[in-house]
Amino acid sequence: MIGTTSTKEGAPLAGAPALSLEHVSKVFGRRRAVDNVTFDLPQGAFLSIFGPNGAGKSTLLRMLATLSRPTSGSAKIMGIDLKEDPDAVRAHIGLISHNSMLYGDLTAEENLMLSAKLYGIQNARERVDEMLEAVELSHRRMDVVRTFSRGMTQRLCIARALLHDPDVVFLDEPYSGLDPHAVEIFDDLIAAVREDRTFVMVSHDLQKGFATCSHALVLARGRVVAYAAKDDIDYDAFEALYRRTVGMGVA
């Protein structure tokens, strides 16, 4: 068969930081959505990105998830250059967003099998069973996703994102549209699938985001205002800074 080269083996550098950004910018015309962002994130960390609406959080995340190209600068994920080999990066990342990315008219199993085949997972059936088990949807495998509740859909979405065993998982406002109970279940699930993966979450819920993270980053007008490991952060000062940046207005 053509194109059966393995992308999983050997590609990621063992010691490389999970994320390594250098002067990453996204510019269109005179508008700088993301401006000169530089930081490193070690493997296994949980990064929360905070910032007001229009600060460029989502734009930054979409660039890291290879859905949009940075205008300038270089970004490496697991040591692989985002611009040079986006396909290699894609094999190592997963995305969970407020959009489920699931087909409403296909069953839970069909949705996962579709992803499995596209990614080229060899032990697809086994893996799908396992993931359905993990998110407690085994009994619903034959049902079309349209009939699922918001929380169930979100769980299946997690299963889909983790199916190919990504090293870095992006969470784009995952709590929006979830009731408090579903949020709890979601947090538990994320904790269960954590393992040694790196997580990057975009959120505007300061308390929730700060509770789960190991590193925190504040973005305002596309620029990094603060970035540190949680252990080094004084929460009160951090909160004050966050309030200030939100007050700084919406671009």
């Binding site: 510019v27 190209r69 300038s72």
Partner: protein, 255 residues
């Protein structure tokens, strides 16, 4: 935005400095073409009349067609519109290569000027057609393909109006600008593909145009191209100024 030595196109350079001169030359050339179309270019013969008459030392046995004079404007304006659509496609390609908003801006302005010349072509063609054929509209091949070209330019602007996100709008518009260009060679070549067309084939080695007709035609053609260039640079600079004002306003907001 330096990558691989790429430089974003600027306004205010040489291209803008020569613009007023080029516009002036365009006005002079098209005026000269206009005058020569009536003085130098010989009349075109129509239906035969019952008899012969000597006019200016020549035997004339046909009706002399005055309406054909429209041709000396109609054709240059039409060619200019197609050239402008060609530029829309070119700027579209440049945009997709570089993702530089400046190219999208140029594509949009070129499309605006293309629309202007398309409308001018339709007006002049309409006048000619109304007199010669006695109808306002007929589905003749060249007419039809050109009409489609006009609809494509309309569609280009309708599409731009349907998207809010600037980068997405620019990408889609560039793609459509490139695809739209396909109709230009078709329109241009339709008189060869469907020979029944009433439009003569002009650009060929035996075009049947005598030098006295070719001269005013070419003068008008280059004149129109120059005018299109002048208008393009004018509009571009005005647009750039607009954007600078917007930018200053935003900066004042932040300060």
């Amino acid at each position: 935005m330096g990558k691989d030595g790429y430089r974003s196109p600027q306004t205010g350079g040489v291209l803008d400095r020569i613009a007023p001169v080029v516009t002036l030359i365009g006005a002079l050339l098209s005026t000269a073409g206009f005058v020569l179309a009536f003085t130098l270019a010989g009349p075109v013969n129509g239906a035969t009349v019952n008899g012969v008459e000597v006019i200016g030392g020549e035997m004339v046995s046909n009706q002399l067609l005055f309406s054909q004079k429209i041709f000396y404007f109609h054709m240059p304006v039409a060619v200019t519109s197609m050239v402008m659509i060609g530029f829309v496609a070119y700027f579209g390609i440049r945009f997709l290569q570089t993702r530089d908003a400046a190219w999208d801006e140029r594509a949009r302005i070129a499309a605006g000027i293309a629309l202007l010349f398309v409308l001018a072509t339709m007006f002049t063609g309409e006048m000619w057609e109304r007199f010669e054929w006695g109808v306002w509209w007929t589905w003749e091949p060249r007419l039809t393909t050109y009409f489609i070209l006009m609809l494509l330019v309309f569609a280009y602007f309708v599409m731009r109006a349907s998207f809010d996100e600037p980068e997405r709008r620019a990408t889609f518009a560039s793609v459509y600008g490139i695809v739209m260009f396909i109709d230009v060679p078709i329109t241009f070549a339709i008189t060869r593909i469907v020979p029944s067309s009433v439009h003569p084939t002009i650009f060929r080695t035996d075009s049947g145009l005598s030098p006295d007709m070719l001269l005013p035609l070419l003068l008008s053609l280059f004149g129109m191209l120059c005018i299109a260039y002048g208008l393009f640079r004018l509009r571009l600079r005005a647009q750039e100024l607009d954007e600078r004002v917007e930018h200053i306003k935003e900066q004042l907001d932040e300060a």
